[in-house]
Point group: D3
Chain length 298, copies 6
């Protein structure tokens, strides 16, 4: 019976090869590569270790100067990053001048790592926001190594820097890694201020052109989305997601849609709301809870 | 103190062993096995590499003929699949005739891999749907290697074929793997047409007897579910999930319930809707947004 | 160009080291450690193998007495657990008397493993609840090795025991591991009865002070949460999440908030409800479905 | 340039495929397999852990009853062994009746593991011999986990049992594993008594038909070989290696050849000797040290 | 006490850094690399799998055409080889023109893989020689997957091709890998004919300028070496190791030295001989066995 | 048939457990451990990376200051070493005062790492000796990453420091690791001067009380051993291996025995010699080559 299997496999292989050739998609040139997801996840983890030395159980910070630790870890990050960013810049590049691409890559990665001390400070503020906002939090340590909200924000802050530097592919791979692990989907293009707080988080969606101020709190299932995407690629670059000003709280499962929709500062939006128009500052918005009907259970 | 620990452990082990014996569940016969989740995930990844050679960074397609690449990868998939499907068919099989089980397994796996070129074409259409529908998508490549929606659809299309071939366990292991990674829960029994589009995706539930046409778009948090499952196993096999016709768009967090509920072709259903009755074709359904109440924030 | 990179990296390392020192957060003493997430996940898996021998494909139960199997696996669990619990008790302990900490650790871990036969029985009841409640379930085996709902309940039952024993960090690491894999967020502090059933599960949130009776069923997207957390850490310890009595069913995407909110026994709450007041026993609660508006699709 | 590479690779692949077909050697039938070296090495290590629990740093023997530990480890060994022995018996078997092969395999592996307690006692005697004979040995523990001589003897004692049971391939894979790690080449067919002592060991060769008594000591570079192997396969089964009786010491780099050569009991053979004739019992054999010639170094 | 450790480590690090700078050896330029031993060992294994498909337990040759198998494996080998050879050619290259180095690398690796079908034929002849010469050999399969002699010859044949192509570093890494595993040290520069036979092998040394004919047999401990190496690097390139003509047999522990020493065809040299002068063809050379002196053992 | 297997395994387990209990050897107390071979090998590799940064392909030295690299690597080595040395000092320690053992461990490991810069300088001199002495050596790099002689010397130099510090077990584990990989067996107790040269190396044995001066060269198969070890442990601590003075060359397969045997400085000893008496300084010692007898080959 084995011979039949062999023949079948050969026949199917022909069909797949035919598919490959039919599809322009598969015209990856000789030596062309796409960034490796696994490497990018490793970079995300390395930066986490750099920012919170000792919190993930594998760093050796008891016996080494902090400068040495930081220097070594940064060098590793630089090297890994350089490789992946170079691949990303090279892929389908019109001008294949390797020297130019390498210079652009070096400049980009240096600019990126130069931002890391600042990003670290931002994330420490996010830790404070989580701690202050969650009565179930027992310590900052717990937040740092187990809260999905903080993890999603951390990855966003990293990915956002790469988005601003126009690095292809990598920001999205990072944000989808966080999305897969937390259920929180923050597009790397979004703009988010200081002391950002997310609780539980599963189901949160924050669109590419969203703008969020400082001290904003979001709960699980909140969507900050577009009104309609029926125009598809035609909407690329247009502001189609809302603006949330400072000190706003948005409770669970609320949906806020539209590029011109602004939630003014200090406002609170109750859970399960559906918002498509702007909300003034200093307002508490509740929904008329849909009337419940009580019957005896059969 | 160690001796106490040893004694305690022995006592507890006795109790656990007692539990094992009390529970018919643990009467796994000598040599009986259940399919290995890890192997099945590996199969899912191998097929992904087969369908999109070069996109996941580990394939070597620059120097080898596409036919050879496809043939080798298929052979690996066949071998791994054969092992797991055989285990699945053998488990608690009434007739333990190994030769019959092996022949059934060979037939099943050959039928399955013979479908792969067709499934590949289907998925390429799904990629097109994602690209056309998402203004934030920068390229088809990005969709293929980072979009959770596409990943969930890909796994569904694979698992569905095995579901149709009545392979036990494996389709569900596959779909729960995708569910765990994306938050998108598509039962392998569902029937889904071409050019299927999912955005963000977290929280989507598509029940076992759902039927979905071509060119349908779903957003995060959409449930296509049953009205009530209080009859439990008594409902097994009954159509209890809705039918969605061609070209329908269903926005975020909408719930559509019931086996007789049909959303007619070309219709659009707004986000946060709760639908338990059929919607005619060519209709745009919006909900009366629950009135919001504005108060000054205390 | 390399020399510039080296200099840049050194400069940035100085800034990061400055950040470390500025932040009290990083004053981890010499030799101080935090529990290792990876080890804790391994413990979760080991206990799973102990409870369901043969179901995850790597155990060898065909040739060994069940007592020996249980004894060995328990010994491994005891050893791994001892290490992590000791780290957790030692971290920032005011009294660094190692002997006392080790005795407390031994006592705690013994108490914990002594509960495992009981927890196993509880989880087998949860398996029954899943099987009886889901028409799509083909077998108990399928539930045990692929249902996210069961996995989240299993992890909760383990983590809850450690929560009751006042072990720091570890219960939360466990529950966030389950949350990341299933989208189901059950705080280890919650109290949950027998025959608990979760379907699909993504987006479920069960707060720290929630009380749930026996034979309760929850569907995806259900939140059992607090009314407001604006008082943050000030609310620590206060009952702020609802009570769900025996035999209650809560359908998808319903939100129930508040520490004084009680859903009485035998009641059913329809999907997409928003509940902030108690519901009497034996009641079927439906929402007035928000009116849908039909227009022709443009 | 890549296209040329692709073409070259295809051409060379054709030639290799031609070689495969030309060589009967490659006529491995469908589904035929050879034992896996990696698995066999793992078995060697497992048995070592079984025999010396706690000495290789990964066993957990502090908290579990020794019976449970032994039972579990044996079960693992049985399962791995069964798989490899079945492959070995199946390969090119004239009678492919699977049931018969499995019964023969079960019988063989049971007989083998039944010998393990006896082999363990033998090896503990070898440890004593090493400890008593080597002034540089600090403890029995050191011998058990670091002496190559003991390791080679241990592997020989295991492999010899399988040789006696006529298991193909596996004994030789085991002995070559020890050979590669220690430079000591003991053919599994050799017969070796109690309290066997090897020091340093590199370069020792003990041929297939060698017979060695109790309390024998060998040093590095000793060959117990055949006089001539020019008849090749024609000598298969003929006794062509020497017999060494009880209490013999053979110092470094000595060569003893021939199937009829006997070194009588209690004799001592000096280093660098070349022996092709029998030596009576109770004899001390030294060689006339080749005269050394002294010149001033230029 | 920890602070002292930290200070000590910093002080020692300064001294090591001083050592690095003092030693020209450590002036590895930015981005300079040395070939990776691990990758080269992987290449050695891949080629073994290519040459003996199915013999090492991990290949899948039952279901795929041999051409596809060979093509894929070759492509992998080409890619890995290209990387390491490029590194080897780049290291301290005077002319750092990357394009030139890559062209040279491509040409070199193509020439190398083009030789593989021929090398495969050579090694199959070596297998025949091992089988015919060793009465303890049970099958060709056993020789292929467990005989150290064959492994050392196989690695030599590969490494020799790279030596002829003037690839730096890699041939020696390969031959030392074999040396470490077998105790057989064949310099990749040696010239060795067909049907080469090595038995046991430990301690064999074959120098760089040795020439060996067809059908030659060597036993353990044979040295084919130089008379004196006191001139060190001054002797580089000079023929300083012996020539062994066709059909010669050299028994164990014999030493043959000198670049002008020739062992004529069909000759046999007994074990433990020390040869510094040429031996005519068709001669059987034995040594006057050093007289043994017998005394009663005290 | 499976039930029989189970019963058999249980019976054999009883016998093994009986053996464990009978043998005092197995009275390893609760929590007692032996050093882990795997960890010690890792330490050997880490120190190699510390001493030759960039030579083993995995270090990142291009972008980081050498002080940072050295500091980090040292910290890792310190931590791993501390753990294993503490285990070694604790095992069967009469005084189980943990604080005292930890202080002794800290002191020992600090003393050890403080020697590393000096050892590094020693090894660089050994590299020079290898390069100058071997005409086949193409570069110092090749020696550093592929020469077994250098590797054995490197491991010896490390292990010797620990031997001098009276650390149990670990020096021997290290030296046997090198022995297994190179066939060169240097007891960590030996005393060896600068510029030590080993060529090929397989079969070299250097005993515990050997003393070797500067600029000494040894070839494969050289034994520096004891005259007789029949007194076994009674000889522990006695000088029983020879002394080799500065600038001595000893060619292949020569054996030099006895604690009072001295090879005077500048002497050369020919290959295959057997030396049991002292050799004066400035002497060239050759052996009367045993006469060869020539016959026509039959």
């Amino acid at each position: 019976m084995g011979q039949d299997v062999k023949k079948n496999i050969n026949d199917i292989a022909q069909k797949l090869a035919y598919n490959y050739k039919e599809q322009g998609l598969f015209e990856i040139g000789i030596g062309e590569k796409l960034p490796k997801r696994k490497e990018i996840i490793e970079i995300v983890r390395e930066i986490k270790r750099l920012m919170f030395p000792g919190y993930f159980g594998t760093e050796n910070t008891a016996y080494v100067s902090l400068e040495s630790f930081a220097g070594n870890t940064l060098a590793t990050i630089y090297e890994k990053m350089f490789k992946q960013v170079k691949i990303a810049f090279s892929y389908k590049a019109e001008n294949k001048n390797m020297k130019e691409i390498e210079e652009k890559t070096e400049q980009t990665v240096l600019t990126f790592i130069d931002r890391l001390p600042y990003i670290q400070q931002m994330i420490l503020k996010d830790v404070d926001a989580e701690y202050d906002g969650d009565p179930a939090a027992n310590s900052r340590e717990e937040i740092i190594f187990s809260y999905p909200g903080l993890f999603a924000i951390y990855v966003y802050r990293i990915a956002h820097e790469l988005y601003l530097l126009n690095v292809p592919f990598i920001p999205r791979i990072m944000s989808e890694y966080a999305h897969g692990n937390t259920g929180i989907d923050i597009n790397p293009g979004a703009t988010i201020g200081e002391y950002f707080f997310i609780d539980h988080g599963t189901g949160i969606v924050i669109g590419e052109t969203t703008i969020i101020g400082d001290h904003v709190k979001l709960y699980q299932g909140v969507t900050l989305g577009a009104l309609s995407t029926s125009k598809g690629q035609g909407l690329s670059g247009v502001k189609r997601h809302p603006t949330i000003e400072d000190n706003v709280v948005i409770y669970a499962n609320t949906t806020i849609l539209g590029g011109e929709t602004v939630v003014g500062k200090n406002s609170i939006v109750a859970g399960n709301s559906f918002v498509t128009k702007s909300i003034p500052a200093n307002t508490k918005v509740t929904i008329a809870v849909p009337e419940l009907q009580y019957k005896d259970r059969k």
